[in-house]
Amino acid sequence: MADTKKYWKGIEELEQAPEFVESSKKEFSEYVPVDEFVGNASEDSSPTNRRDFLKVLGFSVTAATLAACEAPVTKSIPFLNKPEDLTPGVANYYSSTFFDGLDLASIRIKTREGRPILIEGNHNAPTSKGAVNARVNSSVLSLYDSKRSKGPAKKIGESWAKNLNWGIVDKEVAQNLRSAASNGGKVVLLSNTIISPASKGAVDYFGAFIGAQGGSFEHVTYDAISASGILDANQKTFGRRVLPTYNFEKAKTIVSFSADFLNTWLNALTYTKDYSSNRKPDGDWMSKHFQFETTLSLSGSAADIRGALKPSEIAEAVKYIYGKVGGDTTGKVSNKLKLKLDKAAESLLATKGESLVIAGSNNGGIQILVNAINDKLNNYGSTIDLDKEVYTRKGSDVAFSKLAKEMSAGEVSALIIVGLNPSYVAPSSLSFDEALSKVGTVVYTGDRLDETGDKADYFAPSSHYLESWDVLNPTKGEYAFVQPVINPLFRTRQWQESLLKWSGNENTFEVFVKSTAKSFLGTEASWINAVHDGYFLSNAFDSVPASVSDTTSEIEDSSSEPVSIISSAISSAVITNAVSQASVTPSGKFELELYVKTGLGNGDQSFNPWLHELPDPISKMTYDNYIAMNPVDVLELFDLEDTKATRRDFLYIGQESPAKVLTVTVGESTVTLPVVAQPGQALGTIGIAVGYGKKGTEVFTRQEWLGDLFDAENSEKNTIGKNVFPLQSQDLWVSNTISSGVTVAVLEGARYPMATTQTHHTMMGRKLVNETVLSTFLEQQGAAKEKGGYNETVLIADSYGDEKTTRQLDLWEEHAIDLGHRWGLSIDLNLCIGCGACVTACHLENNVAVVGKDEVRRSREMHWLRVDRYYSSHVTTDDKDVLVDDLSDLNTLTEYADAEVADSGDDLSVVYQPLMCQHCNHAPCETVCPVAATTHSDEGLNQMTYNRCVGTRYCANNCPYKVRRFNWFQYDDLNIPAFPDFAKVNHQQDDLGRMVLNPDVVVRSRGVMEKCSMCVQRIQAGKLEAKIDGIPVQDGAIQTACSSSCPTDGIKFGDLNNREHAVSDKKNDDRAYLLMEEIGTQPNIYYQTKVRNV
């Protein structure tokens, strides 16, 4: 219902003169030519004299003022014919599924007035069980990316003819394909994993068409984050090239070798949900989690015991464990690691049949050994279910490299690329770009002309998944549905439909999906139900067999026949072979691990500013990838003595302390990146995140943000971060770890500004995290809050020396908080894995602005909710010999900078603490606001009234939790961006990006303070629903954005005054504590003490 009347201040605005457009983007004019009309000498000669200037100025100011006075006439335009199921102001929800080859999530999409605005987990679905992560819930903004291609294109010479009609492109592509096929040429479809029977059907239809024309057709599958090693190992040991179902909820001991199963490893979301169900100390039992890894990961930081090792040591460690659990191998491991591995083995043996060993490596040899370990531990059939096959990874590294060879040899006449950006993700050893140039016709179906798109001949842009139909088969007997929630925004078309069209089938893909699904659903009614639910479970239907490429023959196979039932059938020959495949001989000072970061994942969403601004859970860096290196190694590399002073002064990265720059060379590839001292990184290793440096991300950045890495001559190289996929090595499998030939050199004098939030909003070393171990927890049950307990109540002596609680000593007048509702949150530190899904969910729900790298550097990020990450080196005094080296006592830290560049070593543990407004009942912010813009509600909320705020920032200064955010710029102004660079990253300044805004939450303007409102709009909506139904608010009926998005259910929301709400019990729990209880703010957010199972 927007106003259609046009307002303008001058002709130049009306006509959009280039000068005006340019100047409108500047808040302050760059150069005011004062001399021209003020200087006496030049007064006569200047084109404008001072008096004329003042006259014009006076007139225009008056005119502008008067023009601005007019009250606007607002139009209200109803539908011509209102759809029955769409009422403006009422949200509609649709089920769908997110699958991009990395994450799989059943989701529920909230739409308002036909616009998808929010993605949450579908809690009824068996797939991913309602868990989402930051990449999934941020994907709604990727839909509104105005830089996506607007229509099909074809290459003429070196340049592109863009925005063509589909007819032209269809005709030419079909022609090319037909002539390629009729000449007996080979047509290849290269895709990422396809788990859709309908899409598979479309591919088969296309293949048959090519065959009928006389050509040969091949479908090659490759995943950017490859799991080929596991698949090949399973093929070899069990005869099935599929993934098994891992039942983390049944595992009492979990040993993971570099598998970040809480973040990016296989079906991480399902694992997260299952894993977290047994991480509560108050349950029947609590799982024990060992993680052995190189780069500190989310899983590593959640682990009870974490060991750091070099990539080359993983094979040794796996062999060592295999030997310990009854195998016949021995591994060479350091003494320090041995202690931990022994503990792990001991625990594994104690929970035989209820344990789980996994490895993230893409090396088939290691995976066979891991299979053998699990077999020895009788885990098959209990924690690992081979019969419930999982199809979410099917890529074959061998097939991919074979394809590259064929392409180079000119054997491929036509190549269609789907769901993959091979020029970006292929290891450099394959020379994929060169191979691509030898292919007759290349058709690319990505969402824009990226690395691969640029080299294609035709571009047939595929629709976003929120505009698409599909039916997925992620697991045997389990179906997930994808349905469009909006019409395609641009002239895009699902790639499946394009394939059908090129093979002469005029059906839409929707028809195709429906008929495929109906083959197992039967009736129309069950189809409607299934699409409504978003999933369908079928025991009767025999699922589509996983596409088994015949490429495994290249893996040296001397073993016995494949077996379907696990036994000791993994012969010693297989083991010997596996050991030789797994073993690596490291050389050089450093080993390299390429890891997948929480924010950008495989880089598919590189254009999503929410993900760029989401601080990495571990390093708290935003916007860039970097070289993660142990602080000890960094200091050694720079020839500095390892002292407290050098650590603080040299390693600290802040607004005025840019990062140093290193150059990493692997073989012929070189990459130059800033170095970040990362505690927990294995000594002698470096870690770099993939998914960065994507073509086109240079628009997000500018010269000052790139420091000495700015390339003035080659602007295309000024991307956010650098692409390190080419550094992968490739033999049988594509490997993300490189153990030999890695050289690291300092780029002398070069500096690079990094935007980190790790030292922002710090709470000055106050005790914030409460932590204990399982044995203490069990011992002190019911007595934890007494003196000496791990959760001791804070007592303060009054003037008579009597010890009193802060509540007894309070001077404040009580709010009527016991009356009616009292909303509150309970946050379980034990369950928080730091994934950041809540941070992005809060972005989505509350229209939080994105500020850009430069502003993040100035601590001006707008996140209402942050996840604080605390390192600690002391876990327990009992295990001092194992876990504590020569680390200084963190409790004696005096300066927070010390804590942030903490002691080194590779042994440390991590606690995550989500922190939002604590909604104090006695809030320090409320008393200092001169205009009463922040007040307290009787329902326990600390309210922020933006239209009353005058921006004094007293409240932020007085907040002990530092959760208030000041809005420094006009982030929401579409027409006159206060600062042109925001428009590049901030969706609120983009016509299309604004469509993601939640219409129930106001978009804050410049000069106001904002903060977490505990999703008051959802509380109000939930209360209204209850009132209409005439019932009290039910537990769980109202969810905040953070609580509903938490994949581990670590955040619970409810009415603290209502006995039927879970949070009301949680607040009296043994583990419950208030943040900084001693200052008497009486928050409504309760934290649950972290308990480690060591």
Binding site: V73, K75, F79, P88, V90, S1013, L1024, K1027
Partner: protein, 462 residues
């Protein structure tokens, strides 16, 4: 006086039992028309009008038309079942209405059915008042023009000046006469401006004051009015508006609320259907207009109305008599009395939505929800929107200022009943007791919106 009382007592002692008997009889036998009216409003008004055919037939006089009261009840409960029995009248009705069947109301209790039937059979047009068809003006009367008061002020000022001039002239003549009599020299007759000049020189302070008073009372209000005219309240509709309350912009279609809501008594929520479920009341989409205006294309005795209704047809691209035709039992096209084939009306193209001008412009930073106030709070539309049924063009009635909202929240008690069933609202039950206990010192505990935080900022601003 005493006699009168006694007589009254006697009369009433005879009359009351009789009246009582009649009254109770009617309640027991035929249901309660008032309860029926509520049910009718909630369930029937979307298709039925009392006096006019709409989606369904006009119901006035149904008691006489229908075979029996029992038939009406059966029809309401489930007309499909009734027709299935082969009953003649119901099938005739069905055929007459082109096979449009009414939704079933099996959920209604016998009592509720009685109530509704009582209401529709006893309904009669109100004898006088705004609902009188003949009294409804076809063309809205123009509101009096503004600005005449300024002329009046100038007139008064002018008259006063004239009197002053005349009287000062007389005064001077008299003084001159007196001076001559006393032997002094008569003053020269000064011109008007010269006199003012002399006065100014002689009485500097007085003159200054007069000038200031002129400035204050003359120029400043004039200037203020001129400022008002530069468009602070400019734009469509604001030009006739002294304050925001009665903002009544001109609309693309001269829609008459007085005819629709007043004369025809269409329930507000029939068109503004969002009121019950959404934060927005919703301006009706054109298909809602067409529910009735498919048939109603002109108001009786008011040819101007056809022009306005035509605008809806233009918007939806609706054409009369060019669509499909009916076929009778013999397979022939249905013809009218003149022997022409009867074509139905049809929509010939996609159409464009009607761009109404928004009357109630609440600021973006205020969250207001209609369903909260209408469904939960049980407010009537007119409590905020005023006597819409008397308005020719929709105008803003309430100021919609924060003070106005707050005041209502302070005074209004919470509606603890559910809107449709009248049962107590379970959401408030426990809360009410808790609050009553907490406020037990207050002699008169009033469970107002304020008590549960209705004045707090974050109830409306987030």
């Amino acid at each position: 006086m005493k006699l009168f009382k006694n007589t009254m007592r006697k009369i009433s002692s005879i009359l009351l039992p009789v009246l009582f008997m009649i009254f109770t009889q009617s309640v027991v036998a035929q249901g309660n028309a008032e309860a029926g009216a509520k049910l009718f409003d909630a369930n029937c008004t979307s298709c039925h009008n009392m006096k006019k055919d709409a989606t369904g037939p006009a119901l006035m006089g149904i008691g006489e038309r229908a075979p029996s009261v029992d038939w009406i009840k059966k029809w309401i409960r489930n007309n499909n079942k009734l027709r299935a029995t082969g009953e003649a009248y119901s099938n005739a009705i069905y055929k007459k209405w082109n096979g449009a069947s009414m939704s079933a109301f099996e959920w209604m209790s016998n009592q509720q059915l009685d109530d509704v039937v009582e209401y529709i059979t006893t309904w009669a047009p109100k004898p006088v008042g705004i609902s009188d068809n003949a009294r409804m003006p076809c063309i809205p009367a123009k509101k009096p023009e503004r600005g005449t008061n300024m002329l009046l002020i100038f007139g008064v000022i002018g008259l006063a000046l004239l009197i002053i001039v005349i009287f000062s002239g007389i005064n001077r003549s008299l003084k001159n006469a007196a001076a001559l009599r006393d032997g002094n020299e008569a003053k020269e007759a000064l011109s008007f401006w010269e006199a003012i000049g002399e006065f100014a020189v002689k009485n500097k302070i007085k003159f200054g004051l007069i000038v200031i008073i002129f400035l204050v009372f003359g120029i400043i209000p004039g200037g203020w009015n001129d400022l008002m005219n530069i468009g602070v309240f400019g734009g469509n509709g604001f030009e006739n508006t002294e304050n925001v309350e009665n903002y009544h912009p001109s609309q693309p279609i001269e829609f008459r609320h007085d005819i629709h809501a007043g004369q025809n008594e269409i329930d507000c929520k029939y068109c503004h259907s969002g009121t019950l479920e959404s934060k927005h009341a919703l301006i009706p989409s054109a298909n809602v207009c067409m529910n009735c205006h498919k048939y109603v294309n002109e108001k009786e005795d008011c040819p101007e109305s056809a022009v306005q209704i035509q605008k809806i047809y233009d918007a939806v691209k609706f054409e009369h008599g060019s669509g499909y035709f009916d076929v009778d039992a013999d397979g022939n096209k249905v013809k009218n009395e003149a022997g022409e084939i009867v074509y139905h009306d049809q929509q010939v193209a996609k159409g464009d939505p009607i761009e109404w001008v928004k009357v109630h412009n609440l600021q973006d930073f205020v969250y207001f929800n209609h369903s909260q106030h209408v469904v939960v709070g049980g407010l009537e539309c007119k409590e905020c929107h005023g006597p819409v049924e008397e308005m020719q063009t929709a105008e803003q009635y309430a100021p919609l200022t924060m003070g106005w909202c707050i005041n209502c929240h302070r005074e209004t008690g919470i509606n603890q009943e559910l809107k449709f069933s009248g049962k107590p609202n379970g959401y408030y039950e426990k809360m009410h007791d808790e609050f009553k206990e907490a406020y037990k010192r207050d002699e008169e505990f009033n469970f107002t919106v304020e008590k549960i935080g209705g004045l707090e900022c974050a109830k409306c601003h987030y």
